[in-house]
Amino acid sequence: MIRMQNVHKAFGDNRVLRGMELHIPKGTSMVIIGGSGTGKSVALKSVLGLIEPDSGTILVDGKPSDSGDRDAFLARFGMLFQGGALFDSLPVWQNVAFRLLRGTLKRPVDEAREIAIEKLRRVGLKADVADRLPAELSGGMQKRVGLARAIAAEPEIIFFDEPTTGLDPIMSGVINDLIREIVVEMGATAMTITHDMSSVRAIADNVAMLHDGVIQWTGPVADMDASGDPYLDQFIHGRAEGPIEAVR
């Protein structure tokens, strides 16, 4: 479904992606792991067109991601941002129903609100949260609202950018379980980037390890522990010693 071929991206002298190759089959959940600053977010944003790669090809369903109707392309995606990225000036329900209140997916206000409340319930939030502002919610609640927004328009593809960053272990577990349930229930294709190994084990069908701008290892999550790849082994066991420099 999503294929990245020989994708390069540099910011000045910093070559972040150096020929990245990745394939995410339809209906599967791919988790990209790697150290800070290795280009995981750049890869994810390149697929969405938020960052333009210097070279290489990104295909979604066999078609280049930068061709065709941009709105129709983006309407297939939902995304949960690292910090939630909720709109401060809008109440929670309008954040969740943002896509349903304008553009090609526009619905009547009452219907959009009903869908928003249903999605909030789906992520474990009560209806009374709907009229609050994002600033009045805790970090975990904001993540759930972000998740509700990501799934509100029932997208085919969902991206999760560091879904558990900044959350306590219990809330991280709740979010991981929700992501897994929602992805399975919707039959969506998912791409997640994270450092959190508990997220990897909870969310992933397949794992890809990004290091030095290329995918060092990729395979099913079940094979991860016995991969024999020194980069992956060092990362998943959190060792300071190994081929990945601890100070980058």
Partner: protein, 260 residues
């Protein structure tokens, strides 16, 4: 210093300035095209009308009334040196309508509105809200920039008109209460002396200054760097640029209206 390296340094400065001007021009053209093409976001537009126009009235009114009063005192005491105290109504009217009204309102809008737009958009950028807008199939130029600039183009001339009236009223109060002017004669002299061209120039300047103030806020907000420092730098730069461009545009527009 080596003359060649001095020349190279000068060249770099000129090229950097030209590149910045080019980026800004492209941004302004893009803003204009997004203002004219659907989809439109009326809720954002009305919210911007409220913020730029209605909520700026107190600061504009206070600035204008104090400036009008001070101007009347200055003209009276200055005019006394050559027995021209009687020209207070005419000079206050022309000074406020042609120059001080639009410029002071423009600068107040730069301080109040440009800074708030730049800080808001820059914060949205650093917290990935602008990326979120894109992923929700909403163009940030249409949703954030076009409504704010359109609102400023409409409301700032109205604020200037209000500022002109309040400024003249400030001069009237000081002149009639402190300087012994006859109220009816003061109003008659003001109305008789002002020409349509003075009022039109004031409103045109207001429109231009409103466009500059909102565009600078949006431009620097969208260009913001990361973190709190990026937001601070974007806000500071937007107000500086807006104030300087407003004063420069005032000079150009005054020259244009003088030549008519």
């Amino acid at each position: 210093m080596n003359p060649l390296s001095l020349l190279a340094h000068l060249g770099r400065v000129v090229l950097t300035a030209l590149a910045a001007l080019g980026r800004l021009s492209l941004f302004a053209v893009s803003t204009l095209t997004h203002m004219l093409r659907p989809p439109f976001y009326p809720r954002e537009f009305f919210s911007a009308l409220l913020n730029v126009g209605w909520l700026s009235l107190p600061v504009v009114g206070l600035t204008a009334v104090f400036t009008g009063g001070a101007l009347a005192l200055q003209i009276y005491s200055g005019g006394a040196r050559f027995n021209a105290e009687a020209v207070v109504p005419q000079i206050v009217a022309i000074g406020i309508v042609r120059e001080l009204g639009p410029v002071l309102v423009g600068l107040m809008i730069a301080a109040r509105v440009t800074s708030s737009i730049a800080a808001e958009i820059a914060t949205m950028k650093v917290t990935e809200q602008i990326d979120a807008l894109v992923t929700l199939s909403t163009h940030p130029m249409k949703y954030l920039v076009a409504p704010r600039v359109a609102a400023a183009l409409i409301t700032v001339p109205l604020l200037v008109a209000v500022g002109d009236i309040i400024g003249i009223a400030g001069g009237y109060v000081v002149a009639t209460q402190n300087l012994g002017f006859n109220p009816a004669a003061y109003i008659k002299n003001t109305v008789d002396f002002l020409e349509l061209k003075d009022v039109v120039s004031s409103l045109v300047k207001g429109c231009a200054f409103g466009g500059i103030a909102a565009t600078m806020g949006c431009y620097y907000g969208m260009q913001s760097g990361r973190g709190a420092q990026g937001v601070g730098a974007a806000t500071k730069s937007s107000v500086e640029a807006a104030a300087i461009l407003i004063l420069a545009a005032n000079f150009v527009l005054t020259g244009v209206f003088f030549s008519l």
